[in-house]
């Protein structure tokens, strides 16, 4: 087996299979650089690291949602043959706390259990089986406390506190945004609609569950190979939690087997680091099984949202008031940031002069709420876009016309008080939809439904901000090298968890440097080799890193041309050109192979770096500093309009999505194939969110801990999808692009909910739209002869 004490770095991938020989042009569908290694099974994910003399680490979890820790008896487990050690909080010499904003999550519980998935003890054993057996031999003495299970109960006077040291009790963070005079405006509306929406807690269900491998090197440094979205931030968190120096920790992040926000922050890292520190130099592996992943990992926040929206009789939006509440579980993780992004997107993509938005993230003893593709926007868009349909129905207006009438255009102020100074293509998206046969032919299609079938068509307009907001620097540092062998090596600081940014980086640098795939190498994030570039999240990966990579590649190109010109005594770099593998003197036609050129360059010259910081909103929006620090507001938004066609079975309540359309404004496209992947994948996740996915929690215990009870779509559950792009050039974007990673996820819930309401004449306000909820609504509609939508 591999992985004896040699460098565990990911292989610098230079064999891109079918990509060989292709020109890396911008704007064309090239096969992804990472596809070849993955389709042959050669790609080494964090899950694939083993090594001889491997130690397995496993976690004993609390199993109860709220309790005071009295003692942990580990002697019997430690005595089991094959057990190398059982560690508890007493073995942690650092702060024993991790977290992105507020550091409130213990590596190993020291005072209180705050959710059933809390880690109580860490077992090191020769085999996984032995580790499991040992776990059963650990006795944890707990004084059970009354759990906080409901986000409204959590705020009642006298409610037990989840985190006693938090000044605001069980309110992790609350925020408010106001523009205009919402109170007076409500009175001035011709129509006001009101509704309460509930959305479920949802699991990411990446195929590669949380996993890592770690070892303390001979020089005493801790090396962790891990499936993560945030290697550089992980390093700081692990250092602080375990009491190490950050520069003695190296985090390596191979291609991740899916993440979707669930690996935005520490999962196995600190536990693994702690295990490695007690493994006497042996490599340690920890791999959560599916049940552990669901029980211990973060979830999309369950939400409760109370909306009131008002308009003039001509459909002009005049007023919005919304209260947004998110169950963040016992730890901050990114709960405050998620709530803040929801607050910013509460009024979605419309011009609304009078807005009152209140949001809060509430501590409970339920599973941890965290980042999940869509990041709070999936919830509020779900609500707001259903409000638009409710309003359209009250005004007797076409739902698309109502959206078009109020859609933000460049130069407008959006509902979060941001003046839109960047490309704003929502109107184009809506207009494209309005001409599409799925929309124009919807009446006819609905009329031809079969027996026991009702058909409906629903629309949703979308907006999603990208990046970190006004204060936290959204920065990437790109590094490009001409290697001594004459290849171009790209050092990416942003993880590729499947979104395809590694391939896009190759395309960008290859295009600038005129090289084909076989002259290129990709280095995946590694805190020792690549430069800090922020998280793989927030629809920022290619926008921010691409903006750093382009100048870095251009600067390397110029340096190569200059040195080549000097070498052949040409007048200047303008006489030289980069062609695959060579620099050509255009005047004489003579070529210098890149390997030869590299010999004439010093190591420091062969590397170019560039830092880029994403632009921020300059609007003096009326929110407090805490909310600004948590990311309110953004300046750059992507837009989209989605349409779903559904069939509802009257006998079972089953909802079948038959077709799906997405028209998106995410700027110009570097690789149409990767762009479509992001849109299609986002839609499929959104369909699951709309129809079947729900982490059911009873008394703080997850009742859906596996993939037979947490129901994500299979290949037969996803309909044919059509994706169109409104390719508006975004001036600040690399090659004119904007973020496409998240926006599509936000569309299906409202589009499908609106389609189901269109089909049934009655609306279900709680997601997912299970057959049971839909059948119940249908019978309600039947008994009230239509009811109100």
């Amino acid at each position: 087996m591999k992985n004896e004490k040699h460098d565990p770095a990911t292989e610098d991938r230079s064999d891109f299979g079918p990509l060989k020989g292709r020109s890396l042009e911008i704007g064309i569908s090239l096969p992804r650089a990472d596809a070849y290694g993955k389709v042959t099974g050669r790609e080494r994910y964090a899950a694939d690291y083993y090594g001889s003399d491997l130690v397995w680490a496993a976690v004993k979890r609390a199993g109860v949602p709220h309790a005071r820790l009295k003692s942990i008896a580990t002697e019997t487990a430690t005595a089991l043959p094959g057990v190398l050690g059982v560690l508890t909080y007493a073995d942690v010499s650092g702060s024993n706390r991790q977290g992105v904003v507020r550091k409130d999550q213990p590596v190993l519980v020291n005072d209180k259990v705050r959710h059933a998935g809390d880690a109580v003890a860490l077992v090191l054993a020769e085999t996984r089986e032995t580790a499991r057996k040992a776990m059963d031999l650990i006795t944890v003495d707990l004084e059970v406390l009354t759990p906080v299970l409901d986000q409204e109960d959590a705020l009642l006077d006298g409610a037990p506190l989840v985190n006693e040291d938090h000044a605001d009790g069980n309110t992790l963070l609350k925020g408010e945004f106001r523009q205009g005079d919402p109170l007076a405006a409500a009175e001035a509306c011709d129509v006001v609609v009101e509704a309460v929406f509930e959305t479920p807690r949802v699991e990411h269900a990446y195929l590669e569950t949380e996993v890592g491998w770690a070892q303390v090197s001979d020089s005493g440094n801790l090396v962790i190979v891990v499936s993560t979205q945030t290697p550089f931030r992980d390093r700081m968190e692990v250092a602080e939690a375990l009491g190490l120096e950050a520069n003695n920790i190296r985090i390596i992040a191979p291609y991740a087997g899916g993440a979707f926000g669930g690996k935005d922050g520490v999962t196995v890292q600190s536990l693994l680091g702690l295990a490695a520190m007690h493994a006497r130099g042996r490599p340690v592996k920890m791999w959560w099984d599916r049940e552990e992943s669901i029980i211990a990992g973060t979830k999309r926040h369950a939400s409760k949202m109370h909306y009131r929206v008002g308009a003039k009789s001509d459909g002009t939006l005049h007023f919005l008031d919304a209260g947004l509440s998110f169950d963040t579980g016992p730890y901050d993780h990114l709960g405050g940031v998620v709530m803040t992004l929801a607050l910013e997107h509460g009024g979605s993509c419309y011009r609304i002069p009078n807005v009152g938005l209140r949001g809060r993230a509430v501590y409970t003893n339920n599973p941890i709420g965290g980042a999940f593709r869509g990041f709070g926007v999936a919830q509020v868009t779900g609500a707001m876009e259903q409000m638009m349909d409710l309003l359209a129905s009250r005004l007797d207006m076409d739902p698309l016309a109502l959206r078009l009438k109020n859609a933000v255009r460049r130069g407008d102020k959006n509902a979060a008080g941001v003046t839109l100074v960047h490309s704003t293509g929502l109107v184009e998206c809506l207009e494209r939809v309005s001409r599409h046969p799925m929309w124009t032919g919807r009446s006819l299609w609905k009329q031809s439904a079969g027996p026991f079938t009702r058909r409906g068509v629903g629309i949703a307009a979308l907006m999603h901000g990208s990046g970190y907001g006004p204060l936290v620097p959204d920065v990437a540092n790109a590094k490009v090298e001409l290697t001594p062998e004459g290849t171009i090596r790209i050092y990416s600081g942003v993880v590729d968890m499947g979104q395809g940014n590694a391939a896009t980086n190759l395309q960008i640098a290859g295009s600038i440097l005129g090289q084909r795939a076989e002259q290129m190498e990709l280095v995946q994030p590694d805190t020792d080799r690549t430069l800090p570039s922020g998280s793989a999240s927030a629809s920022r990966c290619t926008y921010t890193f691409g903006n750093a990579l382009i100048p870095a590649a251009k600067s390397l190109k110029l340096r190569m041309l200059q040195r080549a010109a000097d070498l052949v005594m040409a007048r200047g770099p303008e006489e030289m050109a980069l062609i695959p593998g060579r620099v050509r003197n255009m005047a004489t036609g003579t070529d210098i192979p890149l390997a030869r050129l590299a010999q004439f360059m010093d190591a420091s010259e062969r590397i170019a770096t560039h830092r880029f910081r994403a632009p921020t909103a300059k609007d003096p929006v009326a929110v407090d500093e805490q909310i600004r620090l948590h990311g309110f507001p953004h300046t750059l938004y992507s837009y989209a309009a989605h349409v779903a066609c559904v069939e509802v079975d009257e006998l079972t309540g089953r909802v079948d999505v038959t077709r799906y359309l997405a028209v998106s404004d995410c700027g110009k496209i570097i690789n149409p194939q990767i762009y479509e992947q992001q849109v299609q994948g986002g839609i499929a996740q959104g369909i699951g969110y709309a129809l079947s996915e729900e982490i059911v929690v009873d008394q703080g215990i997850i009742k859906t801990p596996d993939l037979s009870t947490f129901i994500i779509p299979t290949a037969v559950d996803v309909p044919p999808m059509e994706s169109h792009a409104v390719e508006i050039h975004e001036d600040t974007g690399p090659y004119g692009l904007k973020g496409v990673g998240e926006i599509a996820t936000n569309g299906p819930l409202p589009a499908i909910a609106n389609a189901v309401a269109d089909a049934c004449g009655v609306r279900v306000f709680t997601n997912p739209l299970t057959p049971e909820r839909v059948l119940e609504a249908l019978s309600r509609a039947h008994s009230h002869d239509g009811g109100s939508a």
Binding site: P451, L651, T652, R654, S692, T704, T709, A715, P771, L775
Partner: protein, 290 residues
């Protein structure tokens, strides 16, 4: 560590049991190995039946179709005898689990598992299947209704195995219907399911009906009252509707993570209404749609 025996004949199996009496048998492993992983069972050793040729295959034997216990769902799905004579079973198997689960899982396993949600069971009930039970000493035939005693409970003694299942080829039914309600279209555990076999006269009158529901009681639910309510009447929306209260009376579902008891009850009745697609009027107006 457990031993795993791989007998190739039934006689070998009996010999293994003689020396290793506590060994537990499995066929496809799609249930037992899942339970093993969850720690629900902990047998000292295992016997995998997948290589016993005598327990595999589908054949016509006189007036019966005989399916060996270790016949995989995929084999059943592809088999022409099944498709011709008992398509209701093929329809149920088609929506069982997923392709790899069907490649591995067997009909014998589905029967012995006796899950209320077992997809092959409602068809076996309406077809009056008989289960063949083998031991070293004897073999016996038990009607499926008597074989399955409760959730996970069957009429089987120590060191017996299911050898196969026998389906009478008559009466022949013209209409074979199966519908499963799950939380998604594949890889779904049944929330409610209904198998129905019917014969209709030229005049559109139901001559014979056998209907069974899965996942809405501790075992598959059949109701002579429902069958009788349809027989002798035209197959119509009106006839089917009048039988719904009888269905709701017959089922005794529970609430679980997938659905509530009330939903299961309502849907059990509603699924009956789907049968009006086979009424003669539906046939003439929607010819070619099936």
């Amino acid at each position: 560590m457990r031993n795993v025996h791989l007998p190739e004949t039934i006689d070998e199996l009996w010999n293994i049991w003689e020396h290793d009496p506590e060994a537990v048998v499995y066929a496809g492993g799609t249930d037992l190995l899942v339970m093993l992983r969850k720690g629900m069972v902990n047998p000292s050793s295992l016997i995998c039946l997948e290589r016993i040729g005598e327990l595999k295959g589908i054949r016509a034997e006189g007036e019966e179709i005989v399916i060996g216990a270790c016949t995989t769902h995929t084999t059943i799905l592809m088999n022409s005898l099944i498709r011709k004579h008992v398509p209701v079973l093929a329809e149920a198997v088609k929506v069982l689990g997923s392709p790899p689960i069907r490649h591995m899982g067997t009909i014998g396993g589905n029967i012995v598992n006796a899950s209320p949600a077992g997809d092959t069971l409602p068809p076996l009930y309406v077809l009056d299947a008989r289960v063949e039970i083998l031991s070293r000493e004897q073999s016996r035939l038990v009607p499926i209704k008597e074989f399955i005693l409760g959730p996970g409970q069957v009429d089987m003694r120590r060191h017996e195995i299911v050898g196969g299942v026998r389906l009478p080829a008559s009466p022949q039914y013209a209409i074979h219907h199966f519908e499963k309600v799950g939380r998604r279209k594949a890889l779904a555990c049944s929330v409610a399911g209904m198998a129905a076999v019917l014969n209709i006269s030229d005049a559109g009158i139901v001559e014979r009906a056998r209907i069974a529901w899965g996942s809405v009681g501790p075992t598959v639910v059949t109701s002579p009252a429902v069958d009788a309510a349809l027989e002798g009447r035209p197959l119509s929306e009106a006839t089917l509707k009048t039988a719904i209260p009888l269905v709701e009376n017959a089922v005794s579902p529970i609430s679980d993570i997938r659905a509530s008891a009330q939903y299961r009850k309502t849907v059990s009745g509603n699924l009956l209404r789907r049968l009006c697609r086979y009424s003669h009027s539906a046939h003439t107006t929607r010819a070619g749609h099936k």
